[in-house]
Amino acid sequence: MKVELLYATLTLAAGLFSLGLLGLLLRRNILLAFLSIELMLNAANLNFLAFSRYHNEPTGAIFVLFGICLAAVEAVIGLGLVVRVFRMHQDLGYTNLSALRW
């Protein structure tokens, strides 16, 4: 794999991560914030895979597999929290998450 392809891939990952960051800052909604977090996780996965391909080592690919599994767990727990918060407040604004404090 040539360096130019690595560079293009990493630029794409940087763009995706910035979009995720933007969404996290702009959307005042827990569910859409989780969507943005998924976007950022994917950008990190793309970086792992690009360097894994560049060095021809399967280690990065395995990290991506683990990352996808952990993203699944994170999505399930996060969506459980979303359902719970919605039942309590009938609303999904960020401030409703303060109910999680004790």
């Binding site: 940087a14 702009l26 690919a61 699944a72 727990i77 459980g80």
Partner: protein, 174 residues
């Protein structure tokens, strides 16, 4: 060169999907455009030569995780009116400026990567001989060097499953 052009096409498709997911008002459309991003990313993985990870990306991300998101959007009956509109003024331009600066910083930091040598010169071997991205090297590494993290991951999945079912169950008598 062909790879670069294909990467550009699918990368731009993924970026457009991500941008739509950020700006669209209706949460169902936002989730569906994120599905588009995931499929574009899977195509990028294929271009990079990681067919297995690309397939996993389509099956697990687009097929399972985002469909779970769709389920929850419909479960909580979120309509576009419930979503606050994008903020105005400083609250809008501040995050945009921050993201653009972050993007520029990352891209500029990446310029140093252009000085890296091609891997053929480092490993003294044509890179296509490694069978990258096919299942045998991944499986071999997963069950030898990474066997312990693999088992830990299964424990994490069980804990997530139990935690999620505890979170959403209706408490009686509380």
């Amino acid at each position: 060169m062909v790879k670069l052009i294909a990467l550009g096409i699918f990368g731009i498709a993924a970026l457009v999907g991500g941008a739509l997911a950020v700006v669209l008002r209706d949460p169902i459309y936002a989730v569906l455009s994120l599905v588009k991003t995931m499929i574009g990313l899977a195509a990028v993985y294929f271009i990079l030569g990681a067919e297995y990870i690309g397939a996993i990306q389509v099956i697990v991300y687009a097929g399972a995780i985002l469909v779970t998101f769709l389920f929850v959007v419909m479960l909580v009956n979120l309509s576009p009116q419930d979503i606050p509109p994008l903020p105005r003024g400083l609250n809008l331009y501040g995050p945009i400026a921050l993201s653009v600066m972050w993007m520029l910083t990352l891209s500029l930091a990446l310029r140093s990567i252009l000085d890296l040598p091609n891997p053929e010169e480092v490993h003294h071997m044509p890179t296509d001989q490694y069978l990258f991205g096919t299942l045998p090297p991944i499986g071999k590494a997963l069950f030898t060097a990474y066997a312990f993290p693999f088992e830990l991951l299964s424990i994490t999945l069980i804990v997530g499953l139990i935690g999620a079912s505890l979170l959403v169950q209706k408490r009686t008598g509380v």
